[in-house]
């Protein structure tokens, strides 16, 4: 289902959403870059082509959050979950790769064992995407099942078309919020939208090949070679829309869940002093295998959306796309 709106009309709609929803979207922070943040006015939104530095994952799987608190002191023995936030939220301007990342995280957190903190945030959040028309040089979503105009995981997806936006409505939630926008695009406008999508796809130049399986190269010396530059900073895991490894930490009487990552040497360090992934080689190999082999074996697709963040922000210029592309299978 398609709708079309003048850019000013969409701004008015967004200002309307602010009455009922906490609205989050990309904002330009001078000297820092683009960050997803709550907005108070449609004018706050940055709906241009630059990418947000951090993925929207942080609004669902939070960098650190308390899960429950408890105490074992006399007279006050208890263990209680932290109440979940109740407000309705809308995130506007989510990139197709990031919405796809959430669909992948659902396979981890919204399964037979539901992670309530994540699931409740997913359920009460409407996602309105923004298609990419000038993908970055490190983007490779089309090589891994995505595209700059893919609507997977969204409730609605917006396409910038000159002075107007074409709005592709995907779900009932998307239909509900855009019911104030009754105008459908005419034939000409639909044709223009379709050619716009083709152009966007064509603008994504980086293509990689992903081996069917990495089984045969688990023991290869390749992993030692490609991981030698890694400084184990873990920025790739924090900025990845699909990385979901976490730690559970006792902080006084509360249980804190916070991001953790396979890049860190203590991630698998046991109390005995043993460590099954003692060097960067084992740790980086785990990262690549998890994303491009194990997850596919378990869930039928790769745990990577090709957003290129880990490449853009790696301080030593490691490039997972090229590493996978050139894997000596």
């Amino acid at each position: 289902m398609l709708r079309i709106a003048q850019k000013e009309e969409l701004q008015k709609m967004i200002d309307g959403f602010l009455a009922d929803y906490e609205v989050i979207g990309p904002r330009e922070l001078p000297g820092k870059g683009i960050f997803y943040q709550p907005i108070t006015n449609a004018q706050d939104l940055y709906l241009g082509e630059r990418f947000a530095i951090e993925p929207v994952k942080k609004f669902f799987f939070r960098p650190s959050e308390y899960l429950f608190e408890g105490g074992l002191k006399e007279g006050s023995e208890f263990l209680e979950g932290i109440p979940l936030a109740q407000n309705k939220r809308m995130i506007i301007g989510v990139r197709p790769c990031e919405a796809r990342g959430l669909a992948l995280l659902d396979k981890i957190f919204n399964t037979e064992y539901k992670d309530e903190a994540y699931v409740s945030l997913r359920e009460k959040t409407i996602l309105v995407g923004l298609s990419c028309q000038a993908p970055g040089k490190d983007c490779f979503c089309t090589s891994i099942g995505g595209s700059p105009v893919q609507a997977r995981g969204m409730d609605a997806l917006i396409f910038s078309a000159g002075s107007k936006y074409v709005i592709e409505i995907i779900t009932d939630k998307g239909k509900d919020i855009f019911d104030t926008c009754p105008k459908e695009p005419d034939k000409e406008e639909i044709k223009a939208w379709e050619s716009l999508k083709e152009k966007s796809n064509a603008a994504l130049r980086k293509k990689i090949k992903i081996p069917e399986s990495l089984d045969n190269i688990f023991e290869s010396g390749y992993w030692g070679k490609v991981s030698s530059a890694c400084i184990s900073c873990g920025v790739c895991t924090y900025l990845c829309p699909t990385c979901h490894c976490f730690d559970l930490v006792d902080e006084e009487r509360k249980k804190l869940r916070c991001y953790d990552g396979c890049a860190f040497s203590d991630f698998t360090l046991e109390a005995s002093g043993g460590n099954p992934r003692p060097t960067k080689m084992e740790r980086y190999r785990q990262r690549v295998f998890h994303k491009f082999d194990y997850f596919k074996k378990n869930f039928g697709e790769h745990l990577c959306v090709g957003c290129g963040r880990c490449i853009r922000h790696c301080p030593v210029k490691m490039n997972i796309a090229e590493i996978v592309d050139q894997a000596p299978v």
């Binding site: 074992l72 263990l79 979950g81 932290i82 064992y113 976490f246 953790d260 396979c262 698998t268 109390a271």
Partner: protein, 275 residues
């Protein structure tokens, strides 16, 4: 809504000092409505926590056939911060328990088989659960052979149960220690060497082993040499765990998560990933 990671409160009802650094805790859940919790299988584990100190996985070390409903046993070796905190607890103290998690031993596969249990040190804990389970359902299994090793006689766990195991029908218990000590009448030598000497039959047999990585590493080739096929060698694996539910991402061996797909695996499943 309760968090997936929220433990049930349990009370320590018994503590037994097994060795200098291993204690067995008997625990009773305070919330008897904690439903499914009480149905565990040998080989499963729980996340055991001292609130404010931390949480770690421990196997359930006694058979469900021997525990009152809502009670469990865990044996804990003092080795780090959390296990030190656990060892400092007394009867009556409250702890947190999440679980039971993991697949447990494939009991159906073991029926009408000769069972060869091979344990090293605290590795006897998950096997003890299965041994006692099998002894309580003795007619469902064929011969039982237990080979249990430890560094020294003082490091042998569950010593007060050995007599019961020895007396059970068609059951043999072999004890070995790495170094000879005074008044030690059983065998001396590391587990793989003793296994070679005992040379138990592989016919209609399943080997179930648990122990330190070095024991596993050198015992596997002996079992293969004795003719055990890869799917008839069953082991329980351990790695650092946090969630116990296949989410936190640290305990995988290849595509398999020890917490969710294990901790019990046959050798064919994990041979490419253990060294």
């Amino acid at each position: 809504m309760n968090s997936l990671y929220l433990p049930h409160l349990a009370q320590i009802t018994g503590i037994k000092q097994e060795t200098q650094d291993i204690k067995t805790f008997k625990l009773a859940l305070l919330d008897l409505s904690a439903g499914s919790f009480f149905n565990y299988r040998p080989g499963q584990f729980v996340e055991f926590s001292v609130i404010g100190e931390g949480e770690a996985p421990f196997c359930l070390s006694n058979s469900p056939t021997r525990m009152p409903k809502g009670s469990i046993e865990c044996s804990v070796k003092k080795i780090g911060k959390l296990t030190q905190a656990l060892h400092d607890l007394d009867i009556g103290d409250r702890v947190g328990i999440r679980g039971p998690y993991g697949n447990g031993f494939p009991v159906e596969q073991l029926k009408n088989k000769n069972l060869l249990f091979i344990a090293g040190g605290i590795g006897l804990a998950p096997l003890r659960s299965l041994i006692n389970y099998c002894l309580d359902k003795r007619t469902e299994f064929k011969g039982i052979t237990i080979l249990n090793g430890a560094r020294t006689p003082k490091d042998l766990v569950y010593q007060d149960e050995y007599e019961h195991w020895r007396k059970a029908k068609d059951t043999q218990l072999h004890l070995t220690v790495d170094c000879q000590e005074e008044n030690w009448a059983c065998m001396v030598g590391v587990v793989p060497k003793i296994l070679e000497t005992l040379a138990p039959t592989c016919e209609d047999s399943v080997a179930i082993l648990c122990g330190p990585p070095v024991m596993i590493k050198y015992t596997l080739p002996v079992l293969l040499k004795l003719g055990f096929c890869e799917t008839a060698i069953i082991t329980t694996m351990e790695m650092k765990m946090k969630c116990g539910l296949g989410k936190c991402g640290r305990c995988n061996i290849g595509p398999l998560y020890i917490c969710k797909d294990g901790p019990v695996f046959n050798y064919a499943q994990v041979k490419n990933f253990i060294h």
